[in-house]
Amino acid sequence: MNESRGPWFLITGLLIGLGVGLLYAWVISPVRYVDTPPYSLRADFKDQYRALVAAAYGANGDLGRARARLNLLRDGNPAQALAAQAQRVLAEQGTDADVRAMALLAAALNGQVAQLATPSGTMALAAASSQTVVMTTTPQPTDGEAQPTQAGSQPSPQAVRSVTATRPPTQTLTPTLTTTAQPTRTFTPTQGAPFALSSLEPVCQAGTQEGLLQVEVQDASGKPVPGVRLTVAWSGGQNSFYTGLKPAINAGYADFVMTPGVIYTLRIDEGGEVVRDLKAEPCTTADDQDVTSGLHALFVQP
């Protein structure tokens, strides 16, 4: 009788051991990551990280540092990720400062502008080349593999030092002409009046978004200006949006889809020009297609 049991007791023991092993490894003492890189952050924490990178860029104007920081998040297209986040923040009634900062950084990453829009005009971000950074310590994305440790074990200072010793932050040395200069933010105010409407033209084209109100904002020298707040109001509502959130088109570009039959008023920035009676109307294209027209408005700083 006993002989007929064969090796089943071994298999049973193996399965019990396997079950206990997995229970211990996955539930009781799972692998715990204590030295994670930013790209492993949860999506909402990544958003906060991105917003903070933009805020820091707004403060120091150091595009290289901002780019290195964004690279830590491993977004496919950092500028696009910033613009998309800015749109989300805008839709969720987020703060103006956050949206402006992200729009500015998105535009800067695309190499389009170096200007920050403000309610009173524009401010040029001074180039940092004559300033500064003697040494920048920036964590690099390539060295950011998380270190698994066992839960329950205390991360000792030695362990932390060990991690640091094996993959220290890369220090990038940038020689400068002076050693006393500090990496300070320098805004160079550009005096100028609020933006004024330069042209307003109907757009009657097939194959494009119908009823699209396209707005472009330029400074006195014709450069696109991101981060300009635009407010569209109509009977029963209003909406705000910013230039620079579609940097692939133009850093000074923004758009809004109008509903046919509704009359809109567009206001640019605080105290800027107000354009009234904007509407999407039926029109016929050059090749006899019936579509709903859009509008293209160009605002320029005199």
């Binding site: 071994l10 023991g13 051991g17 206990v20 211990y24 924490f45 820091a56 950011g144 990496p183």
Partner: protein, 124 residues
């Protein structure tokens, strides 16, 4: 080898296989980490970003809320640790000054209590 010892050896073998699979081959993957699990140098850089933003906007409450993501300790303590790390790592003087300013401000910082809506008042 007796049947009993074979049974226990099989359990140990299974245990070892389970641990190998759970810890090495297919460990728990953390893809939604929180900022407090960031590596120390990333945390320092995060605090530096908050210090840079504070340097520009002067919004201490916002800076404290940003730092609160990095752990349960008071923001001043988090900033102070980053300040020490920045000195140890030889950060540029400008960065250290911004961290110093943030730490100094946070030491005397009193968080703004959340506003409570008292609700509509009764009318006589």
């Amino acid at each position: 080898m007796s049947r009993r010892s074979g049974f226990f050896i099989a359990i140990l073998l299974g245990l070892a296989t389970g641990l190998l699979y759970g810890w090495v081959i297919n460990p728990v993957k953390y893809v939604d980490a929180s900022p407090d699990s960031l590596r120390e140098d990333y945390k320092v850089d995060y605090v530096l970003m908050a210090a840079e933003a504070f340097h520009a906007d002067g919004n201490l409450d916002l800076a404290a809320r940003r730092l609160a993501l990095l752990g349960d300790q008071p923001p001043a303590q988090i900033a102070s640790r980053a300040q020490l790390a920045a000195r140890r790592e030889g950060f540029p003087a400008g960065d250290q000054e911004m961290l110093d300013a943030l730490v100094a401000a946070l030491r005397v910082f009193t968080p703004v209590p959340a506003t409570v809506n008292p609700g509509p008042r009764g009318t006589p």
